[in-house]
C-alpha cells in the first residue's frame, strides 16, 4: 500500500560551514530521520542547477544550499556564484510551473556565523510551509533501485 510519503529536503552545504563534521551530519540525520538528506560540497559555489533539478526530480520536496559569508569563501567568490545559480534555477523551475521557493540559498551571516545544525533547523522550519511537490507525485515511488 502507499505509505505516507515523507517530505524530504535536499540540503547542500559548504564544507567550511561551522560544526559540519561527519559526526554532526549524522546527528542531524538521526534527528530528522529520513526527512533531510545532507550533502557536503567542497565549496558552496559548486552547486549547479543540475543538482537542484535532479534532487527535485528524484526525491526532494525542496533543495537548499548553505554557503559561507561574503568575503569568507576560500575560492573568493563561490558564494556569489552560488547566489546567481540559485536565481537561475528558480527561473527554470518557475518556467515549468513549480514554485520558485522550493529552491533556496542560505548565506551564513558574517557576524556570528551559525552552525550547520542551526541552519538546518531554520531551513526545515521554513520548508515545512511548502506543499508536497507535484513533481514527486509523478513517480511511482521515491525508492527506485539505482544500478
Amino acid at each position: 500500500m502507499t505509505e505516507e510519503k515523507k517530505q524530504t529536503l535536499a540540503l547542500f552545504y559548504c564544507q567550511q560551514t561551522p560544526e559540519s563534521s561527519e559526526q554532526e551530519r549524522q546527528c542531524l540525520e538521526e534527528k530528522y530521520e529520513r526527512s533531510i538528506r545532507l550533502f557536503p560540497i567542497p565549496c558552496g559555489g559548486r552547486i549547479e542547477p543540475l543538482h537542484f533539478l535532479r534532487a527535485l526530480e528524484e526525491f526532494a520536496n525542496a533543495a537548499y544550499v548553505i554557503v559561507c559569508p561574503e568575503g569568507e569563501c576560500r575560492y573568493f567568490e563561490g558564494n556569489l556564484r552560488a547566489k546567481k545559480r540559485v536565481q537561475k534555477t528558480r527561473e527554470i523551475i518557475e518556467s515549468i510551473g513549480l514554485e520558485g521557493n522550493r529552491i533556496g540559498i542560505l548565506i551564513n551571516p558574517r557576524e556570528n556565523p551559525k552552525s550547520l545544525a542551526r541552519l538546518v533547523d531554520e531551513i526545515v522550519c521554513n520548508a515545512s510551509q511548502l506543499e508536497p511537490s507535484r513533481v514527486l507525485n509523478l513517480h511511482h515511488s521515491p525508492a527506485r533501485p539505482f544500478h
Partner: protein, 473 residues
C-alpha cells in the same frame, strides 16, 4: 627396465579474481571546482584536452550527488593550469575526508574498495608518499635479500611459494612401535591454504545474503568464516566445513549443532572447561580455538594453558589494532611477547596463535606473522570490500548508504575473493622479497624485520647536540 610412474605436481594454490563492479559510485578524493561564469568558450578548451576525458559524458549520481568528473579526475592539474580565465580549481572531496577514522583512514578504505573491485594489488607510480614511520605495524619494515635462492619464474611462475598453515598444535615428538606404527595420537590438525581467516565484523548492515556470501567466499578460498553460532541455520548449514561457530556461553549448544564442523571458537572465560567438555563429548574430532582479549601480560595466561590440552588460541585486539587494556600498546607487541614467551619455554609449536584486531592492509597480515602469529583474523576488511564506508550509520539505526543488506550473496562472495586474492599476492611479494618460500618460515622472523624505534635510536641517538651559541636549520 626402470619403471617410471607419472607423477602429477599438486595443483598450485591460486585465487582466481575478476573485475566485480561496484554497486554504488565510490567516493574519491578529488573535488573539482569549475566555474562557468566568465568562460571564454575557447576553441581548444582545456576540458576537451583532458587526457582522462573527465569532462566528457559527465553525469551526476543523484543518490549520493557524486559528479562523475570527481571519480575520474587523476589530479594532473593540467586544466587548472591551462584555463585562460583560471576558472578551474581543486579541492579535496569533503565526503572522502570524512570516511572512516584515524585507524581506518580514507586511503586505506579506498584501497580496500579497489582491491575488492579489481582483485589486483595496489600499484602506483612515484615513490612512497606517506609518513616516515607510524604507530603499530607502520613502525616495522620487512627485509629483502639481494641475492637469494629465488623462484626462477617470478612469484607467479611454476615454483611454489607456500602460504599454507596448519591449525592445531604439533606434539613435541612422535612415538612409534617396534614395527614402525605410530603409537601416539596423530596430531589433530586443520590445514588452510592461506593464513587469513574471515570473521563477521561487530557491526554492519548485514543480511542473510551477506553472511552467505562471506561463507561462499570462505569456501572458494579454502579458509573459514567465524560467526556467532546462533546464526548458523538455513542455507548456511551447507557451509559448515568452512565455518567456525563462535560459541557463546549464554546460548545453549544444541546436540548436533557442530556436526560437520572442523573448528569452533570458545571464549576463554569462566565456563571454558565446561563448554570444552560438552563439545568433546559430542564431537571428539572438532578442534577448539580459545578466544582471549589481547591484554598486557597475556603471555602469562597463555603459558598457563598450553599444558591443559589447548592447541589453538586467538588473541583479539581492538578494532583499531591495539591491546584492549592499553591504548598505547599495539597488537604487534602483544603477539611478539606471547610468541617469545612460548619460544623461551620451548612450547611454541604445541600451540597455534591466531591474532586479530584492526588488521586493515595485507602488510598487517604479513607483519603479524613476522611478529609470531601463525594466522590472522580479518573482520572489517570483508565488510569494506562490500563498499562499506565505516560511517557507522548502521549502529545508529540510520540506513546504510550502500545498502549492503541488499547485495546478492554471489556478489559478496566474489568481492571477498578479489580482496583476499589481492592480499594473498601481496603476501607473496613480501615473502619473495625476503627470499622466504613458506609462510611457516615467516613466522617469528623478527630478525629479518626492521623496527623503527631500534633503528632510529641507534642511528640518531648519538648525533650532535645543540650547544650554546649554535642554531638549527
Amino acid at each position: 627396465m626402470i619403471k617410471t610412474e607419472r607423477v602429477f605436481m599438486p595443483a598450485k594454490y591460486m585465487i582466481h579474481t575478476q573485475i566485480v563492479p561496484n554497486r554504488f559510485r565510490p567516493l574519491t578524493k578529488s573535488g573539482i571546482i569549475a566555474w562557468w561564469e566568465g568562460c571564454l568558450g575557447c576553441r581548444v578548451c582545456v576540458k576537451r584536452q583532458c587526457v582522462y576525458g573527465v569532462y566528457r559524458n559527465r553525469d551526476l549520481d543523484v543518490r549520493q550527488m557524486i559528479d562523475s568528473m570527481d571519480n575520474q579526475c587523476m589530479n594532473c592539474l593540467r586544466c587548472v593550469q591551462g584555463c585562460p580565465r583560471e576558472l578551474i580549481h581543486k579541492s579535496i572531496n569533503p565526503e572522502y575526508e570524512a570516511l572512516g577514522d584515524s585507524h581506518w583512514t580514507p586511503d586505506i578504505i579506498a584501497q580496500l574498495w579497489n582491491q575488492a573491485e579489481t582483485g589486483k594489488i595496489p600499484v602506483s607510480g612515484a615513490g612512497y608518499s606517506g609518513p616516515f614511520s607510524g604507530p603499530g605495524f607502520d613502525s616495522m619494515w620487512t627485509d629483502m635479500s639481494e641475492i637469494v635462492r629465488p623462484t626462477r619464474d617470478g612469484i607467479h611462475g611454476r615454483e611454489y611459494i607456500s602460504t599454507g598453515i596448519d591449525l592445531g598444535g604439533t606434539p613435541k615428538h612422535l612415538a612409534f612401535t617396534d614395527s614402525g606404527d605410530l603409537e601416539s595420537e596423530p596430531p589433530s590438525l586443520v590445514d588452510m591454504p592461506l593464513p587469513i581467516i574471515l570473521r563477521v565484523p561487530p557491526f554492519g548492515s548485514l543480511s542473510d545474503n551477506t553472511i552467505k556470501g562471506w561463507a561462499m567466499g570462505a569456501r572458494e578460498l579454502g579458509t573459514f568464516l567465524a560467526l556467532p553460532n546462533e546464526i548458523i541455520k538455513g542455507e548456511l548449514l551447507a557451509f559448515k566445513k568452512n565455518l567456525i561457530p563462535i560459541i557463546s556461553p549464554c546460548h545453549p549448544l544444541l546436540h548436533d549443532a557442530l556436526e560437520g564442523v572442523r573448528l569452533v571458537e570458545v571464549p576463554w572465560g569462566e565456563k571454558w572447561k565446561e563448554i570444552t567438555q560438552k563439545i568433546k563429548e559430542a564431537h571428539p574430532s572438532v578442534l577448539i580455538s580459545y578466544r582471549t582479549p589481547l591484554v598486557r601480560g597475556v603471555e602469562e595466561k597463555v603459558l598457563s594453558i598450553v599444558n591443559s590440552g589447548v592447541s589453538i588460541i586467538y588473541l583479539e585486539g581492538t578494532s583499531s589494532g591495539r591491546v584492549t587494556d592499553d591504548n598505547s600498546i599495539f597488537i604487534k607487541d602483544g603477539i611478539r611477547q606471547t610468541h617469545l614467551a612460548l619460544v623461551d619455554n620451548g612450547m611454541r609449536d604445541e600451540i597455534t596463535i591466531l591474532a586479530g584486531g584492526g588488521l586493515a592492509m595485507a602488510e598487517h597480515a604479513a607483519k603479524s606473522i613476522i611478529c609470531g602469529a601463525d594466522g590472522v583474523f580479518i573482520d572489517f576488511p570483508i565488510l569494506i570490500a562490500l563498499e562499506c564506508r565505516m560511517c557507522r550509520r548502521c549502529t545508529k539505526g540510520l540506513p546504510c548508504p550502500v545498502e549492503i543488506d541488499r547485495a546478492e550473496a554471489s556478489w559478496v562472495a566474489s568481492r571477498v575473493t578479489n580482496l583476499i586474492g589481492a592480499w594473498h599476492n601481496q603476501l607473496l611479494e613480501v615473502m619473495s622479497a625476503m627470499g622466504i618460500r613458506d609462510v611457516r618460515r615467516l613466522r617469528g622472523e623478527t630478525g629479518r624485520a626492521m623496527f623503527y624505534e631500534d633503528l632510529d635510536r641507534s642511528t640518531f641517538g648519538s648525533l650532535g647536540t645543540l650547544r650554546e651559541g649554535y642554531e638549527l636549520e
